[in-house]
């Protein structure tokens, strides 16, 4: 353990802004990408279903 307290950890030896801007934005991008890819997957199935319904209903 390198830190004596939690506030010590947050302060990052005076480099808090640089360290947390790096980690924060990275975490944000990872969370956003995961959310996006989950949504993309669900939409692909939903669209395929809609397309199929259109085909079935429009065929004689």
């Amino acid at each position: 353990m390198n830190w004596s307290s939690f506030s010590d950890f947050l302060a990052m030896g005076g480099y808090a802004f640089f360290v947390w801007m790096s980690y924060g934005v990275t975490a944000l991008l990872v969370v956003a990408e995961v959310a996006w890819v989950v949504r993309q997957r669900r939409q692909s199935l939903a669209r395929a279903r809609i397309q199929r319904n259109i085909r079935e209903w429009s065929s004689p």
């Binding site: 950890f9 640089f18 997957r41």
Partner: protein, 265 residues
Amino acid sequence: MAIHWFKYASPASFYGLAGRLAPWFAAAAAVATLVGLYIGLVLAPTDFQQGDSYRIIYIHVPAAWIGMFTYLVMAGWAAAGVVFNTRLSGMMVQALAPTGAMFTFVALWTGAFWGRPTWGAYWVWDARLTSTLILFFLYIGYIALRASIDDPRRADRAGAVLTLVGVVNIPIIYFSVKWWNTLHQGASVKPGSSSMATVMLAGMLVMAFAAWMYTIAVSLVRVRAIIVEREQHSAWVGELLDARAPDDAPGTSGGVAGSKGEKAR
């Protein structure tokens, strides 16, 4: 030697394989991220020269490695697509590009926030930084090129050519710190030797492993979406839709993609 190497080159069979594998890679990524962050942010000591600003290394270097490596994998799939003309190859290139772009951006972003306290500038037109920026533009260029072509098979072809031409940039990035006199430091980790403390190196390698597993997991889920989108008129996607409960509409609840509904198949 009855291994059917090309079995999984068919999107239909790769779809199932990707769905089975993705949760394992996602779990490996999550565990490795927690372990890596614990080593890097809690266990590892403060650097005697750079203080705690050096801790950016635990995302900067893995992101830069994976940004470059993902491009090489993309180029490999692109080459396979050109040679064998398989549909899956183009889909894999398409699935990898956003994550590669994301990590390259992360490398540039964290590099800026590391450069400021150590060099006194967020950005310099150094060979390493500039060639990495070009890599980011190659990813964006690929995505934009795809988006501009309606026929997916033609987009595969054009994208493969762009990817293969751009691959020349990877050795330029890698060797830039050797070939030119750069502000960016040289490689701390080379095959067979390292100039870092063991605990720091361990944290960085675990984070690199996490980024690698994450990239595989995310691109496997993404390629499944791409496969369904591009094969939606095929009979097997019809059977897939029949086997699933009709709850795939956006907005409905659901767990991590790939884990839900797969057992029903």
